[in-house]
């Protein structure tokens, strides 16, 4: 398990310089995309960056703190369906505002779930998150206002606000923005008191308590942050897919990918989920185009099992060991 000390590609670059570097990279990527002027690139880019956000969010609770959240779909869908509901109630509400609302709602759900289950063994927390996913799915399937089982249509505007061009470019930009925020947060946590507290909880919760770590409070922070970010990642989805129904919104693919990518990339640092998302996402797209869309879905699961058995430190961890 990679230590928090040896953490990834930019040792020493933290805080404000790191965030600025992230912003620079994001701007460069977006500019490149505009120059390419390919719709396809933006659609794919959105998916990969979405998974960076989901994976990093999951990793804050999973890799850093050691609590496995299987209910990713619940938080992700809360974000997506908040957008659907808000869009119906207040059609003029700008998407960034909806992202914030989604994040807050999902974060609150994370807090609530955590409060109910985090006093128990980690295993029970994980099972409870599975339960949560189904409960939320059932609730939304029965909620006609957002379309219920029939699904909801959301009209994607023709032109992107602020930047012009196709709307999908705007979605990609927003997702990049979330990515910067989430990665900066993850990196910021890593070497902070909070990060050390998380690591102590992960390694030995009882010893952490005895050392003065307020384990319940920290776990609740992790759950809230993690859930909130996942909700944010789901907020633009309705505009991306234009038709959202529970079957696709709660697709197990999101959950498996969000877990598999950090596990494959490496759970010890902020870089792991990024590496995982890019590699696995890229591989999935390649397979989808060359073989079939059913097979690409299998890839994440198979790779995850393989890595979990053979290379638990993930790709980033493999490179660190060689150092």
């Amino acid at each position: 398990m990679a230590s928090l000390v040896a953490s990834g590609a930019a040792p020493g670059l933290r805080g404000v310089p790191f965030t600025l570097a992230l912003i620079a990279v994001a701007v460069a990527i977006f500019a490149f995309g505009r120059w390419l002027d390919s719709s396809y690139a933006f659609f794919i880019g959105y998916v990969v960056v979405q998974y960076i956000v989901l994976g990093t969010a999951w990793n804050i609770l999973g890799g850093y703190t050691g609590y496995v959240n299987f209910g990713i779909t619940a938080f992700f869908a809360i974000g997506a369906y908040s957008t659907v509901a808000l869009h119906k109630l207040v059609p003029t509400l700008p998407l960034p505002a909806m992202i914030v609302v989604s994040g807050v709602l999902a974060g609150l759900v994370g807090l609530g779930t955590g409060y109910l289950t985090l006093r128990l063994r980690g295993v029970f927390f994980s099972i409870a998150t599975l339960a949560l996913a189904v409960v939320v799915q059932t609730l939304i399937t029965n909620w006609d206002f957002v379309g219920g089982a029939r699904g909801a249509y959301v009209l994607r505007p023709k032109v992107a606000p602020l930047i012009g061009g196709e709307y999908v470019q705007y979605l990609f930009l927003l997702m990049l923005g979330m990515c910067v925020i989430v990665l900066a947060t993850a990196r910021g946590i890593e070497r902070s008191s909070l990060g050390y507290g998380f690591a102590a909880i992960r390694d030995d919760e009882g010893a952490a308590e005895a050392s003065g770590v307020p384990t319940l409070k920290l776990k609740l922070i992790a759950t809230t942050l993690s859930g909130g970010f996942m909700g944010m990642a789901g907020a633009p989805l309705p505009f991306y897919v234009t038709y959202l129904d529970p079957a696709s919104g709660f697709s197990l693919n999101y959950a498996v990918n969000a877990i598999a990518m950090p596990l494959i990339g490496g759970t010890g640092s902020w870089l792991g989920p990024v590496v995982g998302a890019v590699l696995v996402g890229g591989l999935q797209e390649y397979l989808r185009v060359t073989i079939s869309s059913a097979v690409n879905v299998l890839v994440a699961g198979v790779l995850m099992v393989a890595f979990v058995i053979a290379a638990p430190q993930g790709i980033v961890g493999l490179f660190q060991r060689k150092r």
């Binding site: 994980s126 099972i127 339960a131 059932t138 759970t267 995850m304």
Partner: protein, 291 residues
Amino acid sequence: MAVSLDLLMNAVISGLLLGGFYAAVSVGVAISFGMLDVVNIAHPAFILLGSYVAFIGNTVFGIDPILAATILLPAFYLLGMALYQVYYVAFERRDDQSLRGLSFFFGVLFITEVTLVLIFGVDYRTVQAPYIGPSLNLGLFNLPLRLLVPFLVSMVMVVGLQIFLSRTFVGRAVQAVAQDQQALRLMAANPTKIKRIAFGLSIATASLAGACLIIIQPVEPSIGREYIGRIFAICVLGGLGSFPGMVIAAMTLGIAESLTATFFGPSWAPAVSFGILLVTLAVRPSGILGR
């Protein structure tokens, strides 16, 4: 009023029969999680595998689904042993965090589900048998045979396992391994071997449970996920490591779901088990009869 009572009675009876089936579905996890402390969340996937095996046996070879499942019990048993071996070598022996073990089983669940989709597609599959359709009419009560037969099969299986665990050497060793591995070693029994046998049994139960499932309702790969919540709700509510508790919890859940489906609509049924699970975990995690 009389109509309501009739409806109520039948809902309760159906719930009870369903509950018996739920016990068969959960007994595997009562062993793997309750006794071996292995969080096999992929268990529903193996149940579905059992369902599809019964489906093939029925549609391709024309045999009774329960018979098909019984014939393949040894195969499932071996599969369980193999799976445990992988789990043991990769995780338990390394004393790794439970994060990886959980992710492993989650991956297995996912891979199994997707593979089933690739082979069988997402259409609902059913089986044919003489007891699917007719009901036993006992005056006030209506006992659908398609619920009754799985109920009986399930009860036989659960009771049989309970007898095995308490009367045979291997069975008692399994109970012992849950509590004191060191003492087991002193008795010249290899704990790993015992655990392997127990896990094999756990997966073997999935074969029969799967056959029961496809008798009760049409099956498609993703319904496994609903069962995760049911299974763990039952095991937690019943108290880990207690068969009788598990059966009571299963009946309770069956009745609760049946009543919900009858009076609120079937689309709410999945939420019942998970709701019960969340509440139990929050309020009384040791369950009704748990240690």
